[in-house]
């Protein structure tokens, strides 16, 4: 394993080093350096400290593990690979993510999974251990977003306006969602055994990464949200 001491280094320098080694890497004392692992396909990076915005942007394989919190735009336009965050994350995680997986132990900010897509054999997955901010899954066009709402102390599992513009994919919320208002163009139903089957491997990995009780998680009630149409705005326009 190669160790990169991040203190005082720019993100350009850090990424240069990562590119040179392209193997197992430990970054220590990270504090705000952006774009770590951007566009990379074959690295295994562990990060101590707080990585900056756009961690793993355009990630195309490999794995990034963060032992503390991460900031905004984690996994922006990610195509493959995995990002594991032991703390909380900021806004717009998994923006336009097309493949790969993001696991977060804590809470997520606004607009998690916005523009998330699926394509052929690519199925992006985001698992949030805590709660999610507003506009969760905005314009979601594919993939799976799972929010577990663990340790939420009575807080709503997701804030306002989830699934705005959703036209593909699935959203799983570990809640009966009585207190969540969904837009008209989506349907929410209680998860069936089949639904749970679909996410079982991701829940299993989540509990492995963060040492959680899988049985306990799976025994809860999940609500599944899916869009009614792939073409939500078809009726809105008239040719002039």
């Amino acid at each position: 394993m190669v160790k990169i001491e991040a203190e005082g280094k720019s993100y350009v320098a850090i990424n240069d080093e990562i590119h040179q080694h392209a193997g197992d890497i430990l970054i220590t004392d990270c504090c705000g350096q952006r774009f770590i692992g951007a566009g990379m396909g074959n690295c295994a990076i562990k990060i101590q400290g707080i990585p900056g915005n756009a961690l793993g942007a355009y990630l195309n394989g490999g794995e990034i593990e963060v032992f503390s919190n991460a900031q905004d735009s984690v996994g922006d336009t990610m195509n493959a690979g995995r990002i594991v965050v032991h703390g909380n994350i900021g806004d717009t995680a998994g923006y336009a993510m097309r493949g790969g997986e993001i696991y977060v132990r804590g809470n997520a900010g606004y607009r998690t999974g916005i523009h998330m897509k699926a394509y052929q054999n690519k199925l992006p997955v985001i698992v949030i251990g805590g709660t999610a901010g507003s506009f969760l899954g905005e314009y979601q066009a594919g993939g799976i977003i799972i929010v577990l709402g663990l340790n939420r102390d009575g807080k709503k599992i997701v804030s306002n306006y989830p699934c705005t513009g959703m036209h593909g994919g699935k959203l799983y919320l570990c809640s009966d969602c009585q207190d969540v208002l969904f837009p008209k163009q989506v349907t929410a139903h209680t998860a069936t055994a089949e639904d749970m089957q679909e996410i079982a491997p991701y829940l299993e990995k989540f509990s492995q990464y963060f040492g959680m009780d899988l049985q306990q998680i799976c025994s809860q009630t999940f609500t599944v949200v899916t869009p009614d149409s792939q073409n939500p705005y078809k009726q809105m326009y008239v040719t002039n």
């Binding site: 952006r34 951007a38 336009t77 593909g168 008239v238 002039n240």
Partner: protein, 501 residues
């Protein structure tokens, strides 16, 4: 219901004495204007479906057809014109948002036509471009503020990545989806031959066109369609689309009906799924966020590609451009409010944004006032109609021009402004195979090369007339322009004198 009947806008006139009943018009019209009435053995015309694309007129072997604007209309009214009234009826009937395409057709001032180009007489000689060297090569990209030297005093010649253009023109962003495969094939091949660039638009890059990467600009819009490692590295530059002149503040929306198998592959989304890219990149809510996106792309491509930021020309464009210049972008592309589109809400297209001429003049001056004009290159588009527009744009301060509509015209577009229907009879703005086949990419490519070669000659003629033998000596050379029929404020913004001054 009778209340909704509107007399058609066009009349299709068939000269029966010429018509040979060959049925070509029937085959050519995807809108179903022409039909063969088997029983009556006559060619029937339904002009209500006619968009005046001229396809049947062009292909009638005996020139029996013409399309004329209908004289029938509502009672004349300078305030409530026919179009306005029709739109009210249409919306009353459907409740829909009006959707149009191509550039703003309203009679706003066209400043290109109010600018006149200089020529040399006596005090300094015109140059004969046919026999003397005349250079149109342009490099787009960031230039260093100061020359650096090594220990021996030699200049360090390493520049930030640049785009080299054989002439100051690029084909503007038009996505695969909004236009056809064959249209893209024509543009890509022409760009390669001409030594310029075409732009993928936001629809990803078809695998067949990776071969043209050296002449390709790949676009990243809010929907991030088809954006991944290979795509970012495939082109010569990356363009972040923040806005489009035809619809500032409005995003793109390719309806699922146009997302067939092939388009689904380049966009990397499922077939039949709507491709929505809203106006904001939801990770850019401020100028410093733009910087984040610019540098994330630079990091992902290891600083090998210049990054272009494309914005629509809006009221505050000078300040916006200044912000972009300081965000790390290498090139700013500004799209004027007459720029084309495959589909835009009519109200937005016709009412939002400002003319590119004024935007360009304001931006160029602002960047100079701040001393940062050399840190960034400027591309302008929307709409550049001829080589004279290119020359005027460069003289106002542009490094190069994006050309979209004119390129489509070269491919056969007749500006019927019906792209949003997906039934383009010229095989350009459609994905229907029987229509896309009509555009032969070999012919399309040749016509594009012809057009740009002709423009290049004309640019050289105009340069020579001004006594300039290289395009860079024209850039920002506003003394080469004079305004005609412009008021003091317009002259001030354009930074030109009035003719006679």
């Amino acid at each position: 219901m009778g209340q909704d009947y509107i007399y058609p806008e066009f009349e299709v006139v068939r000269r029966e004495d010429r018509c040979i009943r060959c049925g070509i018009c029937v085959k050519q019209c995807a809108n179903g204007v022409h039909a063969w009435d088997k029983e009556r053995k006559i060619l029937h015309i339904d002009e209500s479906k006619c968009v005046n694309c001229q396809r049947c007129v062009c292909f009638c072997p005996v020139h029996a057809l013409k399309i004329v604007k209908s004289e029938a209309g509502f009672r004349e009214n300078a305030n409530w014109d026919n179009q306005t009234m029709k739109e009210v009826y249409l919306q009353a009937k459907t409740g829909g948002v009006l959707l149009s395409s191509m550039g703003n057709p309203k009679p706003y001032p066209i400043y290109w036509d109010k600018l006149l180009i200089n020529a040399s007489q006596v005090t300094n000689p015109p140059i004969d471009p046919l026999r003397e060297p005349m250079e149109t090569r342009v490099f787009l990209g960031k230039k260093p503020a100061a020359v650096q030297r090594d220990a021996e005093g030699k200049i360090c010649c390493q520049l930030e990545p640049q785009l080299e253009l054989a002439m100051p023109v690029l084909f503007s962003a038009m996505s695969y989806g909004s236009i056809s495969y064959n249209a893209h094939a024509s543009l890509a091949q022409a760009a390669k031959e001409l030594g310029i660039y075409y732009n993928t638009g936001e629809g990803g890059l078809h695998e067949d066109f990776y071969a043209y990467g050296a002449n390709t600009i790949v676009q990243v819009a809010s929907g991030r369609f088809g954006v991944y490692e290979d795509y970012l590295n495939a082109g010569a530059a990356i363009e972040i689309k923040m806005g489009q002149g035809a619809k500032p503040g409005i995003g793109g929306h390719l309806p699922g009906t146009k997302v067939g198998a092939d388009i689904s592959k380049t966009r990397m989304i499922p077939e039949g799924s709507d491709a929505i890219s809203p106006a904001p990149h939801h990770d850019i809510y401020s100028i410093e966020d733009l910087r984040q996106l610019v540098y994330s792309l630079k990091e992902a491509t290891r600083y090998r590609k210049p990054v272009i930021v494309k914005v629509a020309a809006v009221h505050n464009i000078a300040a916006i451009a200044s912000g972009i210049a300081r965000s790390g972008a290498d090139i700013i592309a500004i799209d004027g409010f007459r720029g084309g589109t495959g589909a835009a809400p009519t109200r937005i297209r016709d009412n939002v944004g400002i003319p590119i001429e004024l935007a360009l003049a304001a931006v160029d001056q602002r960047l100079r006032d701040e001393g940062i004009r050399n840190q960034v290159s400027l591309i302008v588009g929307g709409s550049i109609r001829s080589s004279a527009d290119v020359v005027k744009a460069v003289a106002l301060g542009a490094d190069a021009c994006y050309v979209g509509t004119a390129a489509l015209l070269a491919l056969g577009c007749h500006l019927c402004r019906s792209c949003q229907t997906g039934k383009c009879n010229w095989g350009i703005a459609t994905q229907r195979q029987e229509l896309t086949e009509r555009l032969d990419p070999q012919e399309g490519y040749r016509r594009l090369v012809n057009l740009m070669t002709a423009w290049k000659h004309e640019i050289k003629e105009m340069l020579g007339g001004m006594g300039i033998n290289s395009i860079e000596a024209l850039r920002g050379n506003r003394l080469m322009l004079r305004g005609i029929g412009l008021n003091q404020k317009e002259l001030e913004i354009l930074g030109v004198y009035h003719a006679g001054e």
